[in-house]
Symmetry: C2
DNA sequence: AGATGTCAACGAAGACCTTCGTACATTCAA
DNA sequence: TTGAATGTACGAAGGTCTTCGTTGACATCT
């Protein structure tokens, strides 16, 4: 389906995608109001227009207030961004990145348990 | 000692830091030749000069060929970069990033074992 | 109808990054 | 001493990203 390679989102674009992923299809105003206190309305609008050009979001223009929805998945995007960081900063070693993240950031018991469970699954599985 | 906050390295800067971290203090030419096939010599030089201004590297000018060494640690830099990604793309959850990395990238038995060992240490420790 | 508010569109500015041409100094060899 | 090689320094171009002012269309309220 994705016949064209979509670029990774920039910082501003990612913060907008986070809103769309959380709230579903939204108008520019809704996104603008959901954002902490960042930029002005026209800045958000402009960024979303650029995102539409890039294919990161789809736009429904049937109403006067256009409705935008994410055109890239959260998981796929996270995966690509992590992969990029692994290649750039960890010589391609996912395990190194994982250990650096676990060492430097405290995680709750529940989160650590989830990671352990995933590791067990990988052990048993492939 | 780091009285000023050093910015995170850009992509080109990070590739240079990777060389310095691996080979130790080096001249521009040595770095240039260690880099895959990326940019021209003056591009590498310019980038390293900018890095010196930013405080990412230190420069020894006592010889005609200046010798540069990394002024930021590999681990600390990796830690900050991972942290930034966690905040931007994973709502601050390190565990989520870890799981995404483990799911999407194959790791060797040894690497997975190392991650498990780290988790056990965290379990027993704090 | 006229005033007011909301919206998309456009253009441009400012910051940063990457790239490289050019200039100038130094070293070394013929 | 002249010329080639090697080095730093400088400046500028081209790209991307973020930001926002302004404009014109449309809607709504009085």
């Amino acid at each position: 389906m994705p016949n064209v390679k979509k670029p990774l989102p920039t910082d501003a674009e990612l913060s907008i995608l986070n809103v769309l992923w959380g709230k579903g299809p939204s108008t520019v105003r809704a996104v603008f109001e959901a954002l902490p206190a960042s930029a002005g309305y026209t800045t958000v609008l402009k960024t979303m227009q650029i995102m539409a050009e890039k294919g990161l979001v789809k736009r429904d223009e049937s109403e006067r207030s256009h409705v935008y929805r994410a055109a890239v998945g959260a998981e796929a995007t996270q995966e690509r961004m992590v992969g990029e960081l692994i290649d750039k900063a960890f010589s391609g070693s996912a395990a190194q990145l994982v250990m650096r993240a676990l060492e430097s950031r405290v995680s709750s018991k529940e989160e650590l348990a989830a990671v352990r469970a995933l590791l067990e699954k990988k052990k048993g599985g492939a």
